[in-house]
């Protein structure tokens, strides 16, 4: 194998992995959009039932479940919880603005 080939192969692999990450990111953003669409439906149901949009008990349950799932996947639970606080906050803002 020439020196040039040795240099190129890791770079080609890097480009391939980056392509995979971009594809995963597309899926993550699509799932966030899907989650927000469902959150809007939840807000409508809450309003119809005369319930408040903000439900700290439910948010705490969602965060706890995210932490448990993270551990099951061998992920750092604190980091996943933080991501979920952002997601929960985003959902709440979408729900509040969807009047």
């Amino acid at each position: 194998m020439s020196a040039q080939q040795q240099d190129e192969e890791p770079l080609a692999a890097l480009a391939r992995w980056r392509g995979e990450i971009e594809e995963i990111d597309r899926r993550i953003v699509a799932l966030i959009a899907e989650r927000l669409a469902v959150a809007k439906q939840t807000a409508r149901a809450k309003r119809a039932a005369g319930l408040a949009i903000l439900d700290p008990q439910r948010e705490a349950e969602v965060i706890r479940r995210a932490g448990v799932l993270a551990r099951e996947h061998g992920l750092p639970a604190e980091a996943v919880r933080e991501i979920y606080w952002q997601l929960v906050g985003l959902s709440r803002r979408v729900q509040e603005s969807d009047t």
Binding site: P56, E59, A60, E61, I63, R64, G67, R71, E82, W85
Partner: protein, 344 residues
């Protein structure tokens, strides 16, 4: 408020405890040590009054935090924070970190020359201003984006991570793209919009104490960044404004041990701005290390008399080498050592 848990608390008990607190509308922050785990509570603590915290399984004790800063307070975490800058540098461990470079990036050649000199002398992080907050609108304001590109090139060549100041919320993403650490200058210590924006970006922040900022105000500014999600904050004492005019500012040496008592965040010192005089940099640097500082940030210019900013307080490369040669003895006397960079 912090909750100290029993050493044998299980993950499930911890989840349950946090869920009870979060269901009351507060946030929790977890800090795990070898022997104990602390759950910090952030938010309206009156909502916890109804909660029998001490009876929840796994809870050992509940302590109030009376200081206005929570996340930044010493009580909130088990171990001192070590902030990683770039791939290889840590601030806040046993080793003392030296950051050095020009006040402002003036051109490619001077940046290159300075980086080469400070690296050879043993500095492990390069400083260089791209956006400059000057007291006069007619003074040199920095090269902006062009300087950021030069910093990136020099980092690639010398392997030194880069710290540079961010002045404007609109530049935060741009600077984060180019720098390993973002500096908040003394004049922006209480620019809360900027602090909040830096909290959003996961880059370490070097937060300088304002000219008239109290220690408590400095810690509240750190709290702002941390409350917005970024816990990688390094505090910097850089001299405060006093009645004394013989020096540009007065280095508040006592701030170093006081901060280390109050917070888990690393504390570094800027002897260049504190004295405003190249002749004072070395003695103030020695004092800082003796008082327990975790690092130094020092201005170095290849030719201080030609500098476009802060020439009076910049060291030339030879003086910087002389200073670096004397630092290990002071570090050793303080029970520390100087961090070193691997050979390129």
């Amino acid at each position: 408020m912090i909750i100290i848990t029993r050493p044998d608390i299980t993950d499930e008990e911890l989840d349950h405890l946090r869920e009870r607190i979060e269901a009351a509308g507060l946030h929790t922050h977890l800090s795990r040590g070898e022997h104990r785990t602390i759950v910090g509570c952030i938010g309206d603590e009156t909502r916890l009054q109804e909660l029998p915290l001490r009876s929840i399984p796994g809870v050992e004790s509940v302590l109030p935090i009376l200081k206005p800063y929570k996340l930044a307070s010493r009580e909130f975490v088990v171990n001192r924070t070590i902030v990683r800058v770039g791939d290889d540098v840590s601030i806040g461990g046993d080793e003392i970190t030296v950051i050095a470079g020009p006040c402002s990036v003036e051109n490619r050649a001077m940046l290159h020359e300075t980086a080469s000199a400070v690296r050879a002398a043993g500095a492990t992080v390069l400083r260089g201003g791209a956006f400059k907050p000057r007291s006069s609108p007619y003074s040199f304001q920095g090269l902006g984006k062009d300087a950021l590109k030069m910093l990136v090139d020099v980092r690639a060549e010398f392997g030194l991570p880069v710290v540079t100041e961010v002045l404007d919320t609109r530049d935060v993403d741009l600077v984060a793209e180019h720098a390993d650490m973002m500096q908040v200058g003394a004049r922006n210590m209480q620019n809360y919009a900027l602090l909040a924006e830096l909290g959003r970006v996961q880059r370490p922040v070097l937060l300088k104490r304002g000219l008239s900022g109290t220690i408590s105000e400095l810690l509240m500014s750190a709290e702002y960044i941390m409350a917005h999600g970024n816990h990688n904050v390094v505090l910097c004492e850089r001299g405060i404004r006093t009645f004394e005019r013989a020096t540009r500012n007065t280095l508040d040496v006592s701030a170093i041990p006081v901060l280390q008592r109050e917070t888990h965040l690393p504390v570094i010192v800027d002897p260049s701005h504190a004295g405003g005089d190249a002749a004072l940099v070395a003695p103030l640097a020695f004092a800082a290390i003796a008082a327990g500082a975790d690092g130094l940030i020092i201005e170095v210019h290849p030719s201080p008399e030609d500098a476009l900013s802060d020439g009076d307080q910049s060291l030339d490369p030879a003086s910087f080498v002389a200073l670096m040669n004397r630092l290990p003895a002071f570090a050793a006397a303080a029970g520390r050592s100087l961090s070193t960079v691997a050979a390129a």
